[in-house]
């Protein structure tokens, strides 16, 4: 995966995870163009589109668009699964997640993503393990004096 963007129906960016090195200017340009392109899609259209030399996989969950850019040889259908899994993780963590949760707790959204994907690849297939890791990290944040048991 090259990058993942989350944005609202008004085109406001809620999360940006870049797995390829690009300048701030380039990121802004890509974001702007891609957001425009995806928002212009009609509801009945399929979740895949070709954009520049990348494949874009996107899915809308309520008021948020989850948008991933993958390379030519990647499997689109599995990317949809990845997006879905991420949403499930957010849902489990926040309890019935909605856009506001992601707005007000954007760092947590990043932390969860970083336990699920690493360097653009899936690192953990077990939902349980991902959430456990987050839990441990949260605990560590709250009471740094406490010694932790190994996560697994």
């Amino acid at each position: 995966m090259q990058f993942m963007l989350l944005f609202s129906r008004q085109g406001k960016l809620r999360l940006q995870k870049w797995y390829v090195p690009l300048s701030d200017k380039e990121k802004k340009k890509i974001t702007r163009e891609l957001v425009q392109t995806v928002l212009a899609r009609k509801p009945k259209m399929c979740s895949f589109l070709e954009w520049r030399d990348l494949k874009i996989v996107y899915k809308r969950y309520a008021s948020l668009y989850f948008c991933c850019a993958i390379e030519d040889q990647d499997n689109e259908l599995i990317t949809l699964e990845i997006i879905h899994r991420y949403v499930e993780l957010l849902d489990k963590y926040f309890g019935s997640v909605c856009e506001l949760d992601i707005i007000f707790n954007f760092e947590k959204a990043y932390f969860i993503l970083d336990e699920f994907l690493l360097g653009g690849e899936v690192q953990e297939t077990s939902k349980k393990n991902v959430l456990k890791a987050i839990e441990q990290a949260d605990l560590l944040q709250e009471s740094p004096k406490k010694t932790l048991s190994p996560i697994f």
Binding site: K12, L13, R14, L15, Q16, K17, W18, Y19, P21, L22, S23, D24, K28, K42, K44, M45, C46, S47, F48, L49, E50, E71, Q73, D74, N75, E76, L77, I78, L80, E81, H84, R85, I103, F104, F106, E107, Y110, F111, D114, E115, L118, G119, G120, E121, V122, Q123, E124, T125, S126, N129, A133, Q136, A137, L140, Q141, P144, L148, P150, I151, F152
Partner: protein, 720 residues
């Protein structure tokens, strides 16, 4: 008074409370000023909160570079909260173009070596997200150590970090290859997953839920291992067949696995049976109610249609159904695939579907659909009449979207089907009478009416309902085209010439035509004016030749195989063929002058290549030539010498006046930066078989060059 800094959530509330963009900007600028001050003061307690706020406004698009150094400080802190936000900031604000990013290398190194897993996790995550090549080289040993540590949590992250490092610094493969064998024996899914990814990356630079994620990755790896590898491919055949048949497709995850299987089968050298299986899986996908699945199916089938044509053919009806998709990206793929599936046995049925599609398809697909239909019609037309009908239909439905050569092709086609002249001219007349706006159609119709006007008026045609047309109607229609503002200049040219031709085809007197011709003699359009003046002259001064000049055209040769040629009745017809044309009886020189003039102007009509002036008598009939003019098949040029930018080309011409002669032109070109001086080229030509011996001497790049060589590979066409 020290104002306590805003909490992150409070800031977010405030920003969201802003009613206008300007207000938002104000709030943010004010806060950023506070944050800057706080950074300057070096407040360690709230630093993480300040950075978090900064990261939020950064996401909204505001500048945040002044927070870069703060990331470093936070990462170096011993508090986990600080590190968490600090690393996040590093991933968002630092990038490898700025030297600042190197400063975190040391912190990462420290964090990797100390034993707290979440901290190691943060460091690895950051390294794998924004680690530059230099950082990767520096930290490779640390990551390597972590690969074989006891904690799976850290190991799986280390493995994927290794993947990133190899992508950045391929030489590191040697570092990370050895541990792989051991890692493959691990039972932890995360580790296995990572390992397979690593191996995949190692084997060939590229990239893999409980069962489903893992299966896909393994298949991906197989795909890469089996590519171009006969033996591995064979052993995989059974495995792939098994996976394909045993996967549960009730959920999308299952379909994803199946799709990966298909991709694998496509990539490796699989048995024919397996490929058919892949095609059938895709065929089933086409029937899936989920349009995403239909999309990947269409895309993949397009890749397979050349290599596994007959297998894909079996799914043709389903593919054609997909033309009706509402989603344009699907219907576009369905169109491409449908066109690829047309063959001589299904052409009639397919064309029907495609014509129907043409009528209702979205505008951006129209041009492709039209040209696709025309191309397929050309390749597979069962009969000429069907072909003509098809082109006619395309021109009527999507006339403005067809390519420029459609007109030429259609006139060529009609011209070559003598038995269909009456039919064609009637159909075209009817079409024209209904609508004169579609330019390609109008042009062809005008040409046909001009050529075969007599057949139009003759009344009987078995294939079409009898049509009673009288001369005045025909003339009126052409005049309408001539006067219409919708007609392009080229179209008007066609109409004018057609009118002129009718002066010999119709029975009535030519006053009306003469009138039109004389009016257009003062037309502002130079092209039309010129024609009109010439036609007028024809009436006034050369009336005795008018009939001969306006006779029906002989069939014009096109590039490409010509099925049959009709030699039109004419006194001085030249039989056109691929070889040099047979010279004909010379014409009166005045006539040639007039015709050369006409041919020169008519050359502008459809941008054909300039007419070769010499193929003599054939020009008698070449009024209004829409197609490429006849010429002897040109002999291809030949490059015979190349050295350091100096090139020698031979080009061949047979002068038509003397076909026994072969003129060879030697062209020497210097593409290099250095001058070539004292260039001498000598040629010797032994009589038979035709060979050429060349000797070159010249100075180039301060060296004197001498080359002697023989040219043996003269093109076939140059031989006698």
């Amino acid at each position: 008074m020290v104002v306590p800094s805003l909490k992150l959530q409070d800031l977010i509330e405030e920003i969201r409370g802003a009613k206008t963009q300007a207000q938002e900007r104000e709030v943010i600028q004010k806060e950023c000023a506070h944050i800057r001050a706080s950074f300057r003061d070096g407040d360690p307690v709230h630093r993480h909160r300040q950075l978090a706020k900064l990261l939020y406004v950064h996401m909204l698009g505001y500048p945040a570079h002044f927070g870069q150094m703060e990331c470093l400080k936070l990462i170096a802190s011993s508090r986990f909260t600080d590190k968490r936000v600090g690393y996040l900031g590093a991933m968002l604000l630092l990038d490898e173009r700025h030297d600042a990013h190197l400063l975190i290398t040391n912190s990462i190194k420290n964090d990797l070596s100390q034993g707290i897993q979440p901290v190691q996790g943060l460091a690895l995550c950051t390294l794998s997200t924004m680690g530059s090549a230099e950082m990767c080289r520096d930290l490779a040993p640390e990551v390597e150590k972590l690969l074989l540590q006891p904690s799976p949590y850290v190991r799986k992250k280390a493995i994927l970090t290794a993947v990133h490092m190899i992508r950045k610094v391929p030489e590191l493969s040697s570092v990370f290859l050895p541990p792989c064998a051991q890692l493959l024996h691990e039972r932890h899914h995360g580790i296995l997953l990572g390992t397979i990814t690593l191996i995949t990356e190692l084997c060939e630079r590229s990239p893999a839920a409980l069962r489903h994620f893992r299966k896909v990755q393994i298949l991906r790896l197989l795909r890469i291992l089996g590519r171009n590898h006969e033996d591995s491919s064979e052993t995989m055949n059974d495995l792939l067949a098994q996976v394909a048949t045993n996967t549960d497709t009730s959920r999308n995850a299952g379909n994803a696995v199946l799709f990966e299987t298909v991709l694998t089968i496509m990539d490796i050298r699989s048995a024919a049976g397996l490929r058919v299986l892949a095609v059938n899986i895709l065929g089933r996908f086409l029937l899936n109610s989920d349009r995403n699945i239909r999309y990947v199916a269409l895309t993949s089938l397009l890749r397979l249609v050349q290599s596994d044509h007959s297998a894909v053919q079996r799914h043709r009806p389903t593919v054609v159904e997909c033309l009706r998709e509402t989603d344009a990206s699907l219907s576009r793929r369905a169109l491409e695939l449908s066109l690829a599936l047309v063959n001589s046995s299904n052409v009639r049925a397919m064309m029907q579907e495609l014509q129907a599609f043409l009528e209702s398809c979205p505008p951006d697909l129209r041009a492709d659909c039209a040209s696709g239909i025309l191309l397929a019609a050309e390749r597979f037309a069962p009969t000429k009449r069907w072909h003509i009908d098809t082109i006619l239909h395309v021109l009527t439905t999507a006339g403005t979207h067809v390519r420029d050569d459609a007109v030429a092709n259609l006139t060529q086609l009609i011209g070559g089907a003598q038995e269909l002249h009456a039919y064609s001219v009637r159909r075209l007349y009817n079409a024209l009478a209904e609508n004169i706006s579609q330019q390609p159609l109008v042009q062809v119709a005008a040409w046909c009416i001009g050529e075969y006007g007599d057949l139009l008026l003759a009344g009987n045609c078995e294939e079409i309902e009898p049509l009673q047309v009288d001369e005045e109607e025909v003339l009126a229609l052409l005049e309408k085209v001539l006067q219409s503002h919708m007609s392009l200049p080229a179209t008007r040219g066609y109409a004018l010439t057609a009118l002129m031709k009718l002066s010999t085809r119709l029975c009535g007197d030519n006053n009306r035509i003469r009138q039109v011709v004389s009016i257009y003699g003062s037309c502002l359009d130079v092209e039309l004016q010129q024609r009109a003046v010439e036609y007028d002259t024809l009436f006034r001064k050369y009336d005795h030749m008018r009939a001969a000049i306006l006779e029906k055209m002989p069939l014009v040769e096109r590039d490409g195989p010509q099925a049959d040629e009709e030699a039109k009745e004419s006194k001085e017809a030249a039989q056109l063929s691929e070889a040099a044309p047979v010279p004909t009886e010379p014409q009166a020189s005045q006539l040639l002058d007039l015709l050369d003039l006409l041919d020169g102007t008519s050359g502008d009509v459809q941008h054909p290549p300039p007419l070769d002036p010499s193929p003599g008598g054939a020009l008698v009939h070449l009024l209004d030539l829409p197609c490429a003019p006849p010429s002897p098949a040109p002999i291809p040029d030949l490059k015979v010498f190349e050295r350091e930018g100096v090139q020698l080309n031979l080009s061949f011409i047979r002068p038509p006046e003397n076909p026994a002669l072969l003129l060879i032109t030697v062209t020497a070109t210097n593409f290099s930066e250095g001058d070539v001086t004292h260039f001498i080229c000598q040629a010797a030509v032994p009589k038979a078989p035709l060979r050429l011996k060349l000797r070159l001497t010249y100075n180039h790049f301060h060296q004197s060059v001498q080359e002697i060589f023989e040219v043996n590979n003269l093109p076939v066409e140059s031989w006698q």
